[in-house]
Symmetry: C2
């Protein structure tokens, strides 16, 4: 099974990248961790950039979300809390690649697609909430940029500062988001 080797390399690459960081990770290390020859890595992945992008996709493909409406919005925030706690490794890889993307066209294109997709999910949820309340959905795009950005910012803080309370920040974000769709309390 040829794709077996491919996955072995991807897993090994993730292990080394998580432990050492992009800068300090060499193809040689990855090959050693995977127990294969150095050249084989370049046989399966044209370049180091393509490899790390494949790694990002490999570790993130299981994190897809599918939620609906206002209840879905709250569930998504709870989901975020969970991922911040559990997927430290993939989050760290993500944040690192964002920094590299700024000056590497290949990684830049990959990360751009990633961001668009994730923010798109947030926007979909926002639109559903507006639809439920029969409100004008125009602000959904801006809200998606702010909310998705906030989640990323909170992830970064919790990665840099171990004692940062991500739960508290996500709760505050959730409260802010929801009070925005109750612009004026119509009842009482």
């Amino acid at each position: 099974m040829p794709s077996d080797t491919r996955e072995k390399i991807l897993q090994a690459a993730f292990d080394v990248l998580s432990r050492e960081g992009y800068e300090n990770t060499s193809i040689k290390q990855i090959a050693e961790q995977a127990g294969v020859a150095q050249g084989l890595v370049h046989y399966h992945f044209k370049s180091k950039q393509r490899l790390v992008l494949a790694v990002l996709q490999f570790v993130c493909q299981k994190l897809e979300i599918g939620v609906e409406g206002e209840a879905g919005a709250m569930a998504a925030f709870e989901d975020s809390k969970q991922k911040i706690k559990e997927d430290r490794g993939s989050n760290a890889l993500y944040v690192q690649l964002i920094g590299i993307a700024l000056h590497d066209p290949e990684i830049g294109a990959g990360i751009r697609d990633f961001i668009r997709e994730q923010r798109g999910n947030v926007e979909d949820i926002a639109r559903q909430v507006f639809a439920e309340r029969e409100m004008d959905p125009t602000p959904a795009r801006g809200i998606a940029g702010a909310v998705w950005g906030a989640v990323l910012g909170i992830i970064i803080q919790s990665l840099i500062e171990p004692e940062f309370s991500a739960d508290e920040a996500i709760d505050a974000l959730a409260a802010m988001s929801l009070s925005a769709v109750y612009p004026i309390n119509q009842g009482a």
Copy 2:
């Protein structure tokens, strides 16, 4: 004037780092850009890490904010819009260093201090708003984490996607923040 040379190196380092990115920037390039010998850079800055941290401080020291109360909160959001547009270079450096900080203790410590200080400013503003309205200031910390994180996330999106509308996202964030301090509209 000895600090003249130091500043010349800092400015040159910022120029090259903005143009090429951390990974692709060598001490040699910085020395050439500054028009000095390679060894001089290491004379003034013990290591590449210490140099880039000094560069970050050098380019950010002029960006201090000093605002008060709810009007100050709005002014701070407008300020953010401005900085996203104008200080692309320093923002890019910042984001890059965050990625590197995850696996470099020296840069990690510097970035951590930076984040704490900036988020602290946001928290101060939040506390002032709560004080003005004589409300419980407890949520200020969580809000600061969410709001500062959101600004960082929006900066990142606008760096990665040139067509991203940062103004729209900041406006949405401002609306969300303020509606959070009007939990129930007491009048009417």
